[in-house]
Symmetry: C5
Subunit: 352 residues, 5 copies
Amino acid sequence: MSTIFKRASQKAGLSPGTLIPVGTRTDGKVKISLWEYNEDHYQEKVLETVKEYLPSKDPTTVTWINVEGLDDTATIETLGNRFSLHPLVLEDILHIGQRPKIEDYEDYVYLVFKMLQREGKAILIDQVSIILGPNYVLSFLEQESAVFDPVKERIRNAKGRLRKSGADYLAYALIDAIVDDYFGLVEQIGDHIESVEEELVARPLPNSVHGIHILKRQLMVLRNAVWPLREVVGGLQRGDSPLFKETTLIYLRDVYDHTIQIIDTTETYREMVSEMLDLYLSSLSNRLNEVIKVLTIISTIFIPLTFIVGVYGMNFRYMPELEWRWGYPVTWLVMIGIGVGMLGYFRKRRWI
Amino acid sequence: MSTIFKRASQKAGLSPGTLIPVGTRTDGKVKISLWEYNEDHYQEKVLETVKEYLPSKDPTTVTWINVEGLDDTATIETLGNRFSLHPLVLEDILHIGQRPKIEDYEDYVYLVFKMLQREGKAILIDQVSIILGPNYVLSFLEQESAVFDPVKERIRNAKGRLRKSGADYLAYALIDAIVDDYFGLVEQIGDHIESVEEELVARPLPNSVHGIHILKRQLMVLRNAVWPLREVVGGLQRGDSPLFKETTLIYLRDVYDHTIQIIDTTETYREMVSEMLDLYLSSLSNRLNEVIKVLTIISTIFIPLTFIVGVYGMNFRYMPELEWRWGYPVTWLVMIGIGVGMLGYFRKRRWI
Amino acid sequence: MSTIFKRASQKAGLSPGTLIPVGTRTDGKVKISLWEYNEDHYQEKVLETVKEYLPSKDPTTVTWINVEGLDDTATIETLGNRFSLHPLVLEDILHIGQRPKIEDYEDYVYLVFKMLQREGKAILIDQVSIILGPNYVLSFLEQESAVFDPVKERIRNAKGRLRKSGADYLAYALIDAIVDDYFGLVEQIGDHIESVEEELVARPLPNSVHGIHILKRQLMVLRNAVWPLREVVGGLQRGDSPLFKETTLIYLRDVYDHTIQIIDTTETYREMVSEMLDLYLSSLSNRLNEVIKVLTIISTIFIPLTFIVGVYGMNFRYMPELEWRWGYPVTWLVMIGIGVGMLGYFRKRRWI
Amino acid sequence: MSTIFKRASQKAGLSPGTLIPVGTRTDGKVKISLWEYNEDHYQEKVLETVKEYLPSKDPTTVTWINVEGLDDTATIETLGNRFSLHPLVLEDILHIGQRPKIEDYEDYVYLVFKMLQREGKAILIDQVSIILGPNYVLSFLEQESAVFDPVKERIRNAKGRLRKSGADYLAYALIDAIVDDYFGLVEQIGDHIESVEEELVARPLPNSVHGIHILKRQLMVLRNAVWPLREVVGGLQRGDSPLFKETTLIYLRDVYDHTIQIIDTTETYREMVSEMLDLYLSSLSNRLNEVIKVLTIISTIFIPLTFIVGVYGMNFRYMPELEWRWGYPVTWLVMIGIGVGMLGYFRKRRWI
Amino acid sequence: MSTIFKRASQKAGLSPGTLIPVGTRTDGKVKISLWEYNEDHYQEKVLETVKEYLPSKDPTTVTWINVEGLDDTATIETLGNRFSLHPLVLEDILHIGQRPKIEDYEDYVYLVFKMLQREGKAILIDQVSIILGPNYVLSFLEQESAVFDPVKERIRNAKGRLRKSGADYLAYALIDAIVDDYFGLVEQIGDHIESVEEELVARPLPNSVHGIHILKRQLMVLRNAVWPLREVVGGLQRGDSPLFKETTLIYLRDVYDHTIQIIDTTETYREMVSEMLDLYLSSLSNRLNEVIKVLTIISTIFIPLTFIVGVYGMNFRYMPELEWRWGYPVTWLVMIGIGVGMLGYFRKRRWI
C-alpha cells in the first residue's frame, strides 16, 4: 500500500507539469493503436510513433488513439500538444496514484478510472485515463490489456449503435467495458467468501482468521476504487459534461446502475466478512468452553478420589479403618458414590 | 449471493440492448394475461401469444398486460416494439439483478421492484418490472405469483376506486400489493427472532450463534431490497413523474408510509439481533466463569489436603507423628479445618 | 414487536379505505366527549352517539371532539363524513401501527403521535390521532387516558391563553400534553439505569446482563417513537401548516425544544447502557482472571510439593534418604523453601 | 442525570408561562448588578431590588443587568415586564434543563448557554441566559460566578474595543468568556486522561476500568453541552440575528473557531478513551494468558512425575523394580528426563 | 495533547487582539526574508528588521515576506500595520492552536495550515499562516523550515509558470509545498504499519498492542490535521476567494486531489490498524486455547492414572489384588489402556 506514496513523494517539490512516469507497473513496452471509423467504414492501425498520425478533418469520423504502456513520455507529450491538453492532465496520466475522477476542460473531458485484478492475496491496480474531445477519444492504459477487446470487436462488426454514434458513445463503451470488468472480480471474491464460510462452519482453524483478514483487505481496496467511480459516473449520467449527448446519457445511466450494484455488493460482502469474524470468534469461545469443561469434569471427579486413596496410604500406626475386614470394599463404594454424584451434578448443570 | 454476479459477468462484453434472460429462476413457462377495463365493463384474457393483442384506442380504457415468466424473449421484444420501449428497458426486464429503481422515459415510467420469499435459511428474490404509460400498465414477473390476486379481484368486483381511476391508480395498486407482501416476510422474521431469543434466554447452545447468523443474513438481504424501495416510492409520492395524477399521490404517500414502516422494523430487528449476539457471548462468558469456578473450588480444597496425606504416606524411618496415638484423628481435624477455611474464603469472595 | 406486523398483514390485500380497527388494545368501550368553548363560556358533554352532535356555526367557538376507544367504527365513519375527512385518514386512525407523522389535507391537518407506558419489561404503545381544522379539533385515543386532563382543566378554569385562542392553540396544548408525558417515562428509565449501574458497580451478577438488555430494548422502542416525533413537531414549528397561526408557532417551538431534550436524553441513555455492558463484560473478565489466579497459586505451590512427598512414599528397597536420621525434617525444610519461593515469585509478579 | 427530568416532570401539565424556578442549584441568594457605560464614563451598581432601576434613554449608553441566582422570581418577572420579554423566555430562564439555543424575538435575542464544572466524578452544569436588546444586555446565572470578571475588568479599564462598542459587542464578550471557560475543563480532562493512560501502561488494575468509565461519562456530558453550542455560535457568526452588527461578526467567528476547537478536542478525547478501554481489555487478556501459561507449565511437568512416584508407592507384593539395586536412581533419571523434555517442548513453543 | 489547551487557557480572559505568542515551539530566533520578483528579475533579501522594508509600488511585482519564528511580536505588529491586517489575524498567527482554516477579509485572505513531523511516538505539529493580498504574500512559520525551498528554487530559476504569474500562484505554490510534505509522513506511517503487521503475523507479542496503539494515535493526529485541510483547499479550488484567478484554480484543484488522496490513505490506514487489533486479539485467543488444550490433555490423561496408583498405595490389611501374582502388570495394562483411550478421544475431538 505504502508504495503508492513512495512514488508520490519522489515527485514532491517538482514544478507542476513536469512529465515523469511515476510508479507504473509497465514493462517498458508501449503500444499505440489508432482507430478511425464512421458509419460506413473503419480503419485500424498500430502506430510506431505518434508523429505519423494526422488527425481526421471530417467531423463525422471518430478517432480513437489507445496507448498501452506509459513509458514513452515523448509520445504522450506529442499527443498532448496535438490535442492541446493541459500540462496537469499529462502529468496525471503518468502519475498513476490518482483517484477515479472527472475533470472538465471545456474542449475535452479528462476521466481517470481504475482496473483491479486479483493476484493471490494482493489486488493489482491499473490506472486508465480517457480523454473525450468533440470527435476523438484518447485512452491510456498502464500496460497491454484485453479490457477493450469487446469494444474493438463492435467497431469491426459494425453491430449495435457504436459505429453510428459519435465519440461520446465510444467513451461510454470504454467506460462500460471497465465497469463490467469489476463484475468478474466481485464474483471471484464472492466465491472466496463462500468457501471460507463453509470451512468456518465445518471446522474453524487458527489460521481461518488470516483468510478473513485477506478478504477484508481486498474488499477495502475494491471499495476505495469503486466509491469514487460512483461520483464520476454519477456526474456523467446527470449530464455534467456537455460533450456527452442527450441520447448517450441513458446509456450512462445504465453504467451508473451497474456501479451502484457493484458498490452494493461490495458493502454486502464487507458486512458478511465482518459477521464471519464474529462467527469465528464465538466458535473459538465455544471450543474453549468445551475444552475447559472436559478438564473440569475429569479433575473434579478424580481429585477428591485421589485424596481419599491418599488418606489410606498414610502410614500412621493407629488407623483403625486399615484393620477392618471390609475397609477396602467400603472405600471403593464411597468413591464410586462420589463419582456418580459428581456425574449427576454435571448432568443437572447440563455439562454432559 | 455470488450467483447474482455469475449471471452478470456472463453478459459482460455484449453490446447493450442484447436480449438474453439472465439468471432468472423461471421454469420455462410463460403466462401472459390481458386485462382491459373502464368504469362500466372489464375483460380478462389469457393470451397465447402477444401478437393476437390489439391495443385499445379508447383513452378511458385501461389496459394491463401481466407477463409471468421471462423465458419468451420474443414476446417481450414484440411488446417492446408495440409500446416503443427503449432497448435498455427490455434488457433490464430480463436481466434480473437490478436494484429497485425508477426510470422516467417521458412517454412511460419504468419501475423495478423486488419480491422476497423465505425458504429455510435462504431468501429468494424475484424481480418485478412495471411499466406505466398514459393508459396502459405492463408488468413482468419472473414466475407465476399470487401477489397481484387482490388487485385482480378488485377489477372484477368493481369495488373501490380502481375501476373508476386511470392506469396510474392501477400501477399504484400493483405497487401497494408488492409492498404489502413484505409485511408477511417481516412478520415471519419477527416470529423467528422471538423464538431464537426465548431459546437464548432459556439456555444458550453452541449452535445458537448459527441461528443468529442466519437471521442477520436474512435481514441484510431484506434491507438491501427495502432501502432502494424507499427512494423509488419516495420519488413517486413527491410527484417526480407526471404520469401519476395528483389524486393518486395521496395513495402513494400511504405506500411510502408502509415502506418506511418496513424499513423501521427491519432496522429495529437488525439491532435486536445484534444485541442477541451480545447476550449470547456474555452468557458464554458467564458459563465459562462458572465452570472454572467449580474447578477452582474443588482443586483448591483438595490439592492441599492431598499434599498432607501424601506427607504421612512417606516412608521415612524417623517420622515421629506416625507413632503418635492421636496422629491420625488430628490429621483429619487439621484437614477438615483447612477444607472449612477454604469454603469460608470462597463464601467471603461470593464464589459459592 | 412482531405483533404489530401480524395486524398489518391481516389487512394486506384489502382495498385502501376499508375501515377495520387493526390491532388496537382497546377493551370495546368507546367514550366520546365534546367540548365547545370561546373566551366567554364553555360547554362539556359526553356524547352517547356522534349523531346527536351539531357542529357550531360560530367561527370564534372552538369545538373539540375527543374519542377514547376505537371500536365504534360507525362513529368514526360518521365523523369522517361530517368533517369530510379523506378515507385514508380514517383508515390510519384505526390502523394503529402508524409512525408519528403529519399529513396536510389543505382543509385540515392530520397528526399521529404515540404515547408510551412502561409495564414491567415491556413498553406499551398507544396511538393518538389529532385532526386540526379551521375551528375544530378531533382527537382519537386507543382507550381512556388521563393525558389530556390538564388541558381540560385549563378549559374549565379559563386560565392562561387557551380559552382566548383558536383551535390551533388547543391542538398545541394537546401535543404539549403528549410530549410532556414522555418526560415521566424517560425519568423512570433514568432511575432504572441508575439502580442497575449501582448494582453493577457493587457486584456484577450473571443476570445483570438481562437488566441491561431490557433497558436497551426499552430505549430502542422509545427512540423509535421519539425520532419521528422530532420531524413532526419540527415541521409544525417551522410553520409548514397554515392552520397554525404565527403566535402559536412560538409555543410549538417550545414543544420542539422539549422533543429535542427527550431525544438527547434517550441517546445519552443509550450510550450509558452500552457502556454499562462494556463495564459488565470487563468486570466478568476481571473476575475470571482472579479466579484463575487463585487456582494457579494454589496449584503451582502444592503440585511440586505433592510430587516430593510422593517420591518418599515409594517403596524401593534401596532409598538411602529414608534411612537418614534427619530425612523427614530436611524434606519439610525443602518443601517450605519451595513454597516460600513460589509465594515470593507470585508477589514479584504482583499476583498476590 | 435523571434528576434533570425529575424537575421537568414536576412541571408537566402546568400552563406554559407559569414562573417557578425548576431544579436550580441556587442557594437562595440573589445578586443583581447593573452596569451602564459608554465610551466616556461607566457606572456600576449592586441593586437591592430591580424596581429602583430606571433604564437609560441615551441610545449610545449600554446597560447590562447581571442576575446571579434565580430564586427571586418577582425580580425576573419585573425585568420581563420592563423589557417586554415573552412569557416563554422567562419560563426558560428559570427552567434550567434547557439545551444551549438561540431564539430570535425580533426586538431581542434570547441565548442559553451551559457552564460546566468538574467536581470529582461528576460534572456540574450551570445554565446562563443572555438577552441582547438594541442597547441592553440581561444575563442570568444560577449562582454567583467569576466567569464574567474579565469582562467587568475591561469595562472598568476602558481597554480594548468594549467601551467603544455597542451592546452586541458586550454580548459577544460574555459569550467569549463562557466559551473560554470550557478550555479549563477540557484541559483538566486531558490531564486526567494522560494520568490514567500512564497508569494503564505501567500496570492495569481491575479498577482502572472505572477511571475510564468516569472519563467517558464526563466527556459525554461535555459533548452534550458543546455540540448545540456549535449550532448557536455558528448561527450567530453567520449573522442570523440583525442585532449583531457586521463588525462584531468577525469576533463571533473567532468564538466559533474556539467552539470547533473544543468539539474537536472532545471528540479526540472520546476516541482516546475508547482506545484506552481496548488497551485495557487486551492487557487483561495478556495477563490471563500469562497466568494460565504458568499453571500449565507447572502442571504438565509435575502431573506425570507424580504419577510415576505413585506407581512405585503401590503395595503389590510382586513388583520387580522395587527390588532392583538401581531402581530408585533410575526412576530419578527418568523423571529428570521427562521434566527436561517438557521444558524443551515449552521453549520450542516459546512459552518460556 | 492537552498541552495545546494549557496554552489556550493561559490566554483566557484577555481582550481579543492582545499579541502574545502562545505555545509555540520556537527557539527565540526569528528570520525574516523578503522576495520580490516579476517575469524579468527577482531580488532576495534577509531583513534584520521589518522596518527597513518598503513595499513595491509596481502592481506586476510580487512581494513575498517569509517570517520563520514567531517570537518577535513587534515585527508581526509592524507588518500587521503596514498591510492593515485585522487584530484577530495577528492574534491567530501567534496563537498556534488554530485549526486549518480560511478567512476572507476582502482585501486579503488569511489561511492557516499545519505541518506534521514524526518524532518517535509523537507527532509534532507546526502552524503555517499565509496571507495573500493583491500582489503580496506573507507567510509565518513557527521555526526555520525547508518546506518552501523548492518554491524558492523555482523563483531563482525562473522555471515553470511561477515568475510569470501573480501572487495567487505563489500562494498556490506554497500550499502545494505544504500538502506535498504530508506524503512523506503518510509514507512513513505506511511503512511502520507494514512492519508491525509482519511482526504480528510472524508472532504476536504482548507489547505488539502498544505498537498498534501508537499507530492509531498518530493516525488520529494526522486525520485531525488533514480533514479541515480538505475544507480549506476545497473552498479555494471552488473559487470562494476572488483573489485567486481563474487560471490558478485548475492548479488548486490539483492540490485538492492530493488532499483527498492523503485523506483516503489515512482512512485506509486507520481501517487497517483497526483490523490489526482484531487480528492480534484473535491470535491471543488462539494461543490461550492452545495452552489450555495442552493442560487439559496432560491433566485428563494422568489424573485418573494417578488415582489408580493411589488405590494400590493404600495400606488396608485386606486388599486381595495386592497379593495377586499378576496384579502389578495388569494394573499397568489397565493404565495404558486408559491413556490410549484418552488419546483416541482427543484425536476424535481433533484436539491433537
